[in-house]
């Protein structure tokens, strides 16, 4: 059986690197490692790809409300439309990442209307866009089921 499987010889030939090739690889490894260490301790996301691996790195207070952000719109028919990555190309985390910009310049929400129109050319136009944060109340690690909503920014054409 399996006669076509290559037989692994006990000693397979090895292609070696030149001394120069080995030194360059050592230096590149050390340099990249140094940049990554620096990014971890002093860097920010801006230093991609050497920024810190800070996914879910903040401590969350077990008694503080949990933030849940959404981008919501009203269209010309009066219907409420949830704006998502799918229908605008803008991710929820991107709204959150630039939320201070939207807070101070709510007219920037116009870009979400433009993006929505580009991706949904046949849909009724949007007449209002809102960024809403729903604060879920949490007590001792457990969501109580109560929430409050905060409208962070509103835009109308």
């Amino acid at each position: 059986m399996d006669t076509e499987t290559p037989v692994t010889p006990l000693t397979t030939p090895v292609t070696r690197l030149t001394a120069r090739g080995r030194l360059i690889r050592l230096l590149v490894t050390v340099l990249a490692g140094g940049l990554l260490l620096a990014g971890t301790f002093w860097g920010e996301d801006d230093h991609f790809p050497f920024g810190p691996f800070k996914m879910y790195a903040s401590a969350v207070d077990p008694d503080a409300p949990t933030v849940d952000t959404r981008l919501e719109a009203t269209d010309a028919t009066g219907a409420t439309v949830l704006l998502t990555e799918r229908n605008t190309g803008i991710r929820r985390a991107e709204i959150e990442g630039q939320i201070d910009r939207f807070r101070t310049e709510p007219e920037l929400l116009r870009v979400a209307a433009d993006a929505y129109a580009r991706r949904n050319p046949d849909a009724p136009p949007l007449t209002e866009i809102r960024i809403i944060i729903r604060w879920h109340e949490v007590r001792d690690f457990t969501p109580t089921g109560d929430w409050e909503e905060e409208v962070v920014a509103t835009w109308q054409p």
């Binding site: 076509e4 499987t5 037989v7 292609t15 301790f41 801006d46 991609f48 207070d61 990442g97």
Partner: protein, 323 residues
């Protein structure tokens, strides 16, 4: 003094030997095909929102430092679709193993730009440092044929560098938690928050048991800090550790829908991928089918896409020259 320099030199030699420990070229070839096929799948299927930035007006583009330094153009539909097409085309060539340096360099640069387009709108993901390193180092290895048992130090460094990047993602994530969350992270409500935001039905019952989530947080930091031990384990335990890493991500995906897929692909650099020969298996099966139907091709060497002409059990002299 001379003794100290001698010792340092020996240490440096040992580190370099470990960094460039030779691996079979067949393993590199298999990893290469996996990585480049994943790049195509990622661009087309898994990261659709990067392409969606074509429709987002440039005012929301806040280029990352690297995008400001280079400087890269503000994405327009033409830029985004152009990078997308070039990325998919070059990854398709690279996945076959042809033009490994040229196509590999093109994919590495285009994927980096693709990620800058993805991450310059207010959110940077942390799931693909290993993949970016894999793309950068794969381009430094010349031709590698599927099934080749000859070993290469250049291939060894490429896989080692990728493994280091994968483990650094875990190990340094623990320090990021200390930096942002401090020790409170261990006993905080981060997992509760993650479940409220994006938990699945599997995760919801966990909200009733905060002590379990705290135990999980302590377990996560412990595993991140211990992850470098994977390099000192013996082979069997090393595979077990890598299996544990994979299962950690399976559980994260099942509970809080975080997949870390690019990282998982890079982590395959730990596995003896040369044993996975889907094309060989498929042809063998087909040959067996023909044999039982009266054809009779079994027992003959089988040509495999990406391989040169089959020459028998021991590959011939047309191996790439030493580099």
């Amino acid at each position: 003094m001379a003794a100290v320099t001698g010792r340092l030199r020996r240490l440096g030699g040992a580190v370099t030997r470990w960094l460039t420990e030779p691996v079979p070229l067949g393993r590199l070839a298999a990893f290469r095909t996996l990585v480049y096929l994943f790049v195509i799948a990622d661009a087309v299927v898994f990261t659709p929102w990067a392409r969606a930035h074509a429709d987002v007006p440039g005012e929301l583009y806040r280029p990352l430092l690297i995008g400001r330094l280079l400087p890269l153009p503000t994405p327009t539909p033409a830029v985004v679709w152009g990078v997308f097409a070039a990325l998919v085309a070059s990854a398709a060539v690279a996945a076959t193993g042809r033009l490994p340096r040229l196509a590999g360099t093109a994919v590495a640069l285009l994927y980096l730009e693709w990620m800058i387009i993805a991450f310059s709108y207010g959110k940077v993901d942390h799931d693909r440092f290993g993949l970016l390193v894999a793309l950068a180092v794969l381009a430094t290895v010349g031709r590698a044929r599927h099934g080749d048992t000859a070993r290469s130090e250049a291939a060894g460094w490429a896989l080692r560098a990728t493994q280091l990047a994968v483990v650094a993602t875990y190990f340094l994530a623990a320090f990021a938690k200390l930096r942002w969350g401090g020790l409170d992270w261990l006993t905080g409500a981060t997992l509760t928050w993650a479940i409220v935001r994006r938990g699945t039905v599997l995760a919801e019952p966990l909200l009733e048991a905060p002590w379990l989530l705290i135990a999980a947080q302590i377990g996560i930091v412990a595993f991140e800090l211990l992850s470098p031990l994977v390099f000192v384990l013996r082979q069997r335990w090393r595979y077990a550790a890598v299996g544990f890493f994979y299962s950690f991500h399976l559980v994260s995906f099942a509970t809080i829908t975080i997949s870390f897929l690019p990282h998982l692909v890079a982590m395959a650099s730990f596995l003896p991928l040369e044993r996975v020969r889907p094309v060989v298996w498929a042809r063998r099966l087909a040959a067996r089918g023909r044999e039982s139907a009266g054809g009779g091709a079994a027992g003959h060497p089988v040509p495999v896409a990406g391989d040169p002409t089959v020459g028998g059990p021991r590959e011939g002299p047309d191996r790439p020259p030493p580099q």
